[in-house]
């Protein structure tokens, strides 16, 4: 029985559906098969989500320790005691690695993508359920290996999340560059394997498992975003995996891919002939698309939410799809903008710069279309919408600093300053996290059958929105004054010491903002137990997850397969009985 406010039309098996049904599997019995080694994409999605939730609190805790150390360098801190300069560098390495890989890549794609991509295209599961289970457990293993770096002798590596060689390649280059660094690389390599399996699965599922009538141009923008993200992942993670293996060989097998003839403290290391810049090329060939891997799902989701809660079709659906495709495509041709100061040829800088500025164009198109979607709507301020609006604001703010860094002549000054920290935290970090929050508030009712507390959600929004600006806006000023990143103390350079008041303000803002996150954590678990019961379509949205039961049954649509007749954003259609038309409702008159 397919429930739902939309009263979607369903049919029983036809030829196409039988192919799809062949992928379905019987509902598992027993706790282990159902909740631990589950093949169900929904359970796997939740596993990814809770992994990311655990990771984000670890990452956030590390950032708090860093913030405290920056303003009270001698204070003893929980777990770490007095923070030495190398401990500070270990904290920032682990903070970056955990956040980029195990939060920003894990939650939007592995979590929500896994849960909702099959449902939104009307499929009973992912194309390869076993591969899906493997990709989660691989990712989980990667996280454990990373955490192990905390407990080995020497601690976690100090080379930063970018792991520039030779610092990352030489055991003698500093504390943490021993076993800790090997664990760090191994963890990333394992993560890459999991991500590659996931990417294959997402691409195949999107291409092969769509319900009848779900043409590519009827796919929700969320699906487009997950699909494009998966393609980026497939092309990017393989490169990082190879680079990681080469680095492990340099460290342990005596090869010299990334290490030229170097001496540490006057001692020869036995390496010669390698290229430190090769690591940077390989790393950023992954690293830049990774930014889009983190942000594209949030773009897709927030596009969707702006439409749902404005009760208006998305402005320029096709333009949004093409913009995401061009962002993904251009994203592979701009990695050199991280390397303007690296010693790379200045002529290539010119090419990388113009490509990077080019990415500004589809990004601007998206922003215009978001504003165009709001224009003339009737905006309902539910918590998912607040975070979507916050996302647009943060995306603009984080995006606007991009063209500064993309111009090599300005990057001479700004490179490695806090201006960079401000830029990528806003656009890749906070904007993506706003996407994750929006997704949580939006889909929680479908996932858990309960509503989250709206008052707490709004409180959480205000804390986070204002807090994010209070933390990251001053970092622009800090960077404009040449304040350098990855400095464990500001005491040694006079012009950086003068900026200490800004650091104090940022730390205070971080304290308040992080405190606000416990409102979210409480709301999440409290609502699972005590939340108001959710209806099947509480937001009156049109996509397929809202026609099925809450939470959805094991095969998503209870033995039936939806048939799609409409685009994903048919709100306020003139002449329609309600202000929304489900994708599975009878086809509306084509209108423009």
């Amino acid at each position: 029985m397919v429930g739902g406010t939309g009263g979607g039309e369903t049919i029983t098996m036809s030829t196409h559906e039988s192919a799809v049904q062949a992928h379905a599997h019987a509902a598992p019995q027993g706790f282990i098969r159902k909740w631990v080694f589950s093949l169900d994409h929904k359970v796997i999605g939740l596993q990814y989500y809770f992994l990311a939730l655990a990771a984000v609190f670890v990452g956030m805790f590390l950032s708090l320790l860093m913030r405290i150390h920056l303003i009270w360098p001698t204070a003893a801190l929980p777990f770490f005691g007095e923070i030495k300069p190398e401990t500070y560098l270990s904290l920032l390495t682990m903070h970056g690695t955990i956040m980029v890989f195990f939060v920003l890549t894990t939650a939007p794609q592995g979590g929500f993508g896994n849960y909702f991509l099959p449902i939104q295209i009307g499929a009973p599961d992912m194309a390869f359920p076993v591969l899906n289970m493997l990709s989660f457990w691989t990712t989980f293993l990667g996280f454990l290996v990373l955490l192990a770096a905390f407990v080995v002798t020497g601690g976690p590596p100090l080379h930063g999340w970018t792991g520039y060689a030779p610092l990352s390649a030489l055991q003698s280059a500093g504390p943490g560059e021993g076993l800790g660094a090997d664990l760090w690389i191994t963890s990333i390599a394992i993560f890459c394997i999991g991500a590659l399996m996931g990417a294959l699965n997402f691409i195949t599922t999107t291409l092969d498992m769509r319900a009848k009538g779900m043409t590519m141009m009827r796919m929700p923008l969320t699906v487009w975003a997950w699909f494009i993200t998966a393609i980026l992942g497939l092309l990017a993670f393989g490169v990082l995996l190879s680079a990681g293996i080469l680095l492990l060989m340099d460290r342990n097998l005596g090869t010299s891919f990334f290490v030229p003839l170097v001496t540490v403290n006057g001692q020869l290391t036995g390496h010669k002939g390698g290229s430190p810049l090769l690591w940077q090329h390989l790393f950023w060939f992954f690293g830049h698309p990774e930014v889009y891997i983190a942000i594209l799902p949030a773009m897709g989701l927030c596009s969707q939410l702006l439409s749902v809660f404005s009760r208006k079709p998305i402005f320029g659906y096709k333009a949004m799809v093409y913009a995401m495709l061009s962002i993904g495509f251009l994203g592979f041709m701009v990695w050199g903008h991280h390397m303007f100061m690296s010693g790379m040829s200045p002529y290539t800088a010119f090419a990388f710069s113009i490509m990077t500025m080019g990415i500004g164009v589809p990004s601007a198109i998206k922003t215009f279309n978001w504003l165009g979607t709001l224009w003339g709507g009737r905006i309902r301020f539910h918590s998912p919408m607040l975070f979507a609006i916050g996302f647009v604001s943060l995306f603009v703010t984080g995006g606007i600093s991009g063209p500064f860094l993309a111009q090599p002549v300005l990057d001479i000054y700004l490179h490695e300053t806090y201006f960079v920290i401000a830029h990528f935290h806003l656009i890749m970090g906070v904007a993506s996290i706003f996407g994750i929050f929006a997704a949580t508030y939006y889909w929680f009712p479908k996932m858990f059958g309960k509503m989250m507390n709206e008052t707490l959600a709004k409180l959480h929004f205000w804390f986070t929105f204002i807090g994010a600006y209070a933390i990251f806006m001053p970092m622009h000023y800090y960077g404009m004054s040449a304040g350098l990143r990855r400095y464990s103390q500001s005491t040694e350079v006079a012009y950086i010491l003068k900026l200490l008041p800004l650091q104090r303000f940022i730390t205070a803002a971080a304290f308040v903002t992080i405190a606000g996150q416990f409102i979210f954590l409480f709301n999440l678990f409290w609502s699972m137990a005590k939340g108001k019961k959710a209806t099947d379509n509480p937001w009156e949205a049109t996509t397929l997850e809202w026609i099925t039961a809450t939470p959805p049954p094991h095969d998503n649509f209870g033995g039936q397969t939806p048939v799609v007749h409409n685009g994903p954003y048919e709100y306020s259609v003139p002449g329609a009985p309600k202000d929304f038309v489900m994708q599975s409702d009878p086809e509306i008159e084509p209108a423009h």
């Binding site: 079709p313 010693g343 111009q407 006079a494």
Partner: protein, 268 residues
């Protein structure tokens, strides 16, 4: 709620913009020939991107307030978009971004596409965990050979660089812990690193360049003001990264000549 969003978004925008306009925290005064051009392009970029920032945020705040569900407008405009508008803003942003790029490219080209002038002062800058050493070629104009196996970090100076005393060209090389250069003359730096990547950064000179092991990177800048400027390491190089700093002393040509001569004399 619409009004609250409008108020908060506008307030954040205005406060953020104020500190940029007031230049409360800003670039230090430029002291190199390139600084004026770079700073000018900073200003142009801030005006252009600042306008976009303020316009977009104000529009966002206004729209969420104006089209709130309990607002005056009751009917939703059913529309899937407008291709003409899409085209207009695509072209506008393309012109804006590519235009900015082209404007700044000529400055980049003039800084980095040419080699240093023939009469430039040559200084070899070597970074190692966690110190900078500066070497001058001496009267013969040639840098002596350095050998990794001769390096002795604890010896400092020539010893730390591994300067080979058997090479005749090394006899008159001067190695200093302070970088001294004459004003109004181009300085060609030859950047090297022994162990890991370091980065030579002097904010007042608007100059930064990584020093990469295995490479000798030639770059140049022209100081136009005398004084002492701090050199900071701008690439994570290990636990002492934050304290890997040095001093750049820009002096008159006379003082520079005297200083160099005195160092030469010390060597003999």
């Amino acid at each position: 709620m619409g009004l609250a969003l409008l108020a908060v978004i506008w307030l954040i925008t205005l406060v953020s913009t104020y500190f940029f306009v007031a230049k409360t925290w800003w670039l230090p005064v430029g002291a190199s020939a390139a600084a004026a051009g770079i700073d000018h392009h900073f200003t142009v970029s801030f005006i252009l991107m600042g306008t976009v920032f303020v316009a977009a945020q104000l529009a966002l705040g206004y729209l969420v307030w104006k089209f709130r569900s309990n607002g005056p407008s009751s009917k939703v405009e059913y529309s899937h978009g407008n291709s003409t508008l899409e085209l207009v803003w695509t072209v506008l942003t393309a012109v804006l971004f590519v235009g900015m790029n082209l404007m700044s490219s000529s400055i980049w080209a003039s800084e980095r596409f040419r080699q240093a002038e023939a009469d430039a002062v040559h200084v070899e800058v070597t970074g190692m965990q966690f110190a900078w050493y500066f070497r001058y070629p001496g009267p013969d104009g040639k840098f002596g050979v350095t050998k990794p196996e001769l390096e002795d970090a604890s010896a400092g100076g020539e010893g730390a660089l591994g300067l080979d005393p058997k090479d005749p060209a090394s006899k008159d090389d001067v190695v200093s812990g302070v970088m001294v250069v004459p004003v109004n003359r181009e300085v060609e730096v030859i950047l090297r690193a022994h162990d890991v990547i370091h980065s030579f950064f002097v904010p007042q000179m608007r100059f930064k360049q990584d020093a990469v092991p295995g490479l000798a990177i030639h770059m140049h800048f022209t100081p136009i003001q005398t004084g002492e400027f701090e050199i900071a390491c701008a690439e994570l190089c290990g636990l002492g990264h934050y304290k890997m700093h040095g001093i750049l002393k820009v002096v008159s040509q006379d003082e520079f000549d005297k200083w160099l001569a005195a160092r030469e004399a010390e060597k003999q």
